[in-house]
């Protein structure tokens, strides 16, 4: 595969081109309104939880897949399944590599996510679902290591920390593009005889699908698949 550094460089080239302020000239000098307070470094650190691909901001601490397994079993498996296979509609976290171009793609941490830092970031900010952002850094490292290991991305002895995670090459790191390659304008504003009436056929009709919840009366809580 492509070496980590060059893929990151590719992404970065697009991000640099997309970002930036253009020819922006500030309307007012810095601090013109003099409203609000300057946060302390500790406050800024408390707010700033997002971890970019570089790993900047990853806290001290570490964790292994073995440590993660225990935490996962009691806090995550009830929704995502013991093997990360997903359950009752909750997301599948493991598997799916090679499926993305198929007719039944399985988008998982293993098959789809381009950066391992995102796994740490998301578990830290949003999981477990019922108590988000309550895990300690070591727990998040351990869970990340466990998910990467279940996906066969790192070996069982892998120790996740601020240095190792940004260096992990995810299976789909080459799979993301960041600029829409699809044509924008597809249609013409034709006004008469724009189609041949004879060839117009109804290809699908929602009335026969039996998928629509009740639309009047109290909100319909029908179970998936009715």
């Amino acid at each position: 595969g492509t070496p980590v550094a060059s893929t990151q460089a590719q992404d970065r080239a697009v991000w640099n081109a997309e970002g930036g302020a253009g020819h922006y000239k500030p309307a007012k000098p810095v601090g013109y309104y003099a409203i609000g307070t300057t946060p302390t470094p500790a406050e800024i650190a408390g707010w700033t939880i997002a971890i970019p691909p570089s790993g900047a901001g990853l806290p001290a601490g570490q964790g292994t897949a073995a440590q993660g397994e225990t935490i996962y079993a009691s806090n995550c498996a009830m929704c995502h399944g013991t093997f990360g296979q997903g359950k009752n509609g909750y997301p599948q976290l493991v598997g799916g590599v090679g499926s993305l171009a198929s007719s039944a793609p399985a988008k998982t941490v293993g098959s789809y996510w381009p950066y391992a830092t995102t796994v740490w970031d998301y578990i830290n900010r949003a999981m477990p679902f019922y108590a988000p952002h309550t895990l300690k850094p070591d727990q998040v490292y351990a869970l990340t290591a466990y998910l990467l290991n279940m996906n066969g991305i790192v070996h069982s002895g892998f120790v996740a920390d601020a240095t190792t995670l940004p260096a992990v090459k995810m299976p789909n790191r080459d799979g993301f593009i960041w600029k829409d390659p699809r044509p924008v304008t597809h249609n013409a504003a034709c006004m008469t005889q724009c189609a041949n009436p004879v060839t117009i056929k109804i290809t699908s009709n929602a009335a026969s699908m039996n998928l629509t919840p009740r639309l009047t009366g109290p909100v319909d809580h029908m179970k998936p698949g009715k």
């Binding site: 810095v30 707010w47 700033t48 793609p105 381009p114 900010r125 593009i177 699908m209």
Partner: protein
């Protein structure tokens, strides 16, 4: 006496005309101005509510509900009916404990209370917000027989707040700053990276929605409004604006709001919502109930790229089109209302609307979308909607070749 008079209904004296000439509500006093200091719709409108599709998500906390567009008479969405999209349910935020942090690659980081945020110069703009998953169920085939559920993940409101550029001026952008991360204080800590050019253009850090504080469902007390871009980047319950060199590549911009292309490649950052329109009357929920005769076709059109230029309506499945009338005001990145008079002959028909925006972009058919985007995308289904009118006046959601 009083009782005798009250009991002798005038209706008895004038049976031919009353009711409804003089129905019960005309012969009595109603509740006074002290009865409900904050009002609500008539109880006869109780079915006009947000609804959801239970099989779309395993939990109501990471799910969406839909605006009843079939009952929205103009370009403004009622605050009570504005669609919801949650990733961890709806937080209940105490405005006194609210703080907005602006940090990262800035000269002077800033921490603002809500009162402080509100002191900055403000603007007020009407913009739509649409979830890119609006119409997702309709990619492979016509699946949901409902305007609300195929198109209702859009709403339009008057947003009031501080221009994001005003706040960025105040903290001072460092030259290296190229991206901004907006993040929310819901359980999901929902966050999205935005290129600075858009941030400095027309984004609003908003606290007002249609004449009152932003609703909890839409981000109380503060949300980001990113006009014309995917709903999910309009971060609700906004807690932080962080400046950086490169995007953060969050789960929301990789796993969640990316598009898997037919090639197996994943497409991030598709942001802009292309022009879209839909006929809101008639529709599956609002059939033609009066038999053949005059009806007005009504609909809504919008574009993430600016103003609507024209809307054309077809009554024959796209063979011929007529130019619809646009209702004032026609504003940028805002719902626009269109109408077309129609004398229905009582025969089956296939009706469609097709919008052209000020950039010249013309709304595509579902077949055109499939051709360029593949048969099974998730997001940004802005294809032309076909409603099938039956002789009975009933309306079905169909797709045609």
């Amino acid at each position: 006496g009083a009782t005798a008079i009250a009991a002798s209904a005038r209706a008895a004296a004038q049976p031919a005309a009353a009711p409804p000439a003089d129905d019960s509500w005309s012969n009595a006093l109603g509740p006074g101005v002290d009865s409900r200091p904050y009002g609500r719709p008539s109880r006869f409108e109780k079915d006009v509510v947000r609804r959801y599709v239970p099989w779309l998500s395993p939990t109501r906390d990471a799910d969406a509900s839909f605006t009843p567009l079939q009952d929205q008479p103009g370009i403004i969405t009622s605050n009570g009916l504005f669609f919801e999209r949650y990733h961890a349910g709806r937080p209940t935020i105490d405005p006194d404990r609210y703080r907005l942090m602006i940090s990262g690659l800035v000269r002077k980081p800033l921490l603002l209370t809500l009162d402080q945020l509100m002191r900055f110069p403000s603007v007020s703009r009407i913009h739509f917000i649409e979830c890119p998953a609006n119409g997702a169920t309709e990619w492979p085939a016509a699946q949901l027989n409902s305007l609300q559920l195929t198109h209702g993940m859009v709403g339009c409101a008057l947003w009031t707040g501080v221009k994001l550029s005003t706040l960025l001026d105040e903290v001072g952008l460092l030259p290296e700053a190229k991206w901004l991360l907006a993040s929310g204080s819901d359980g999901a800590h929902m966050d999205r990276s935005l290129p600075l050019e858009k941030c400095l253009d027309d984004c609003i850090v908003a606290y007002g929605q249609n004449g009152e504080a932003i609703r909890p469902e839409q981000g109380y007390p503060v949300r980001l409004v990113v006009p014309g871009w995917q709903g999910n980047v309009n971060i609700k319950w906004l807690r932080q604006l962080q400046l950086g060199k490169t995007p953060w590549i969050t789960r929301e911009e990789t796993s969640e709001y990316s598009e898997l292309l037919p090639s197996g490649k994943a497409l991030g950052f598709t942001w802009v919502m292309d022009a879209k329109s839909v006929i809101t009357f008639p529709c599956p929920e609002k059939p033609l109930t009066g038999g053949p005769g005059f009806y007005e076709i009504r609909g809504l059109a919008w574009s993430g790229r600016g103003r609507i230029k024209q809307v054309d309506v077809s009554l024959d499945g796209g063979v011929n089109y007529r130019r619809a009338k646009l209702d004032e005001p026609v504003l940028s990145k805002c719902l626009t209302r269109f109408t077309l008079p129609w004398r229905w002959d009582g025969k089956p028909a296939l009706i469609q609307s097709r919008v052209t925006d000020e950039t010249g972009y013309v709304q595509p058919t579902i077949a055109q979308k499939h051709k360029f985007w593949g048969n099974d995308p998730v997001y940004e289904n802005n294809s032309i909607q076909t409603w099938q009118i039956l002789a009975s006046g009933a309306v079905n959601n169909v797709q045609i070749s």
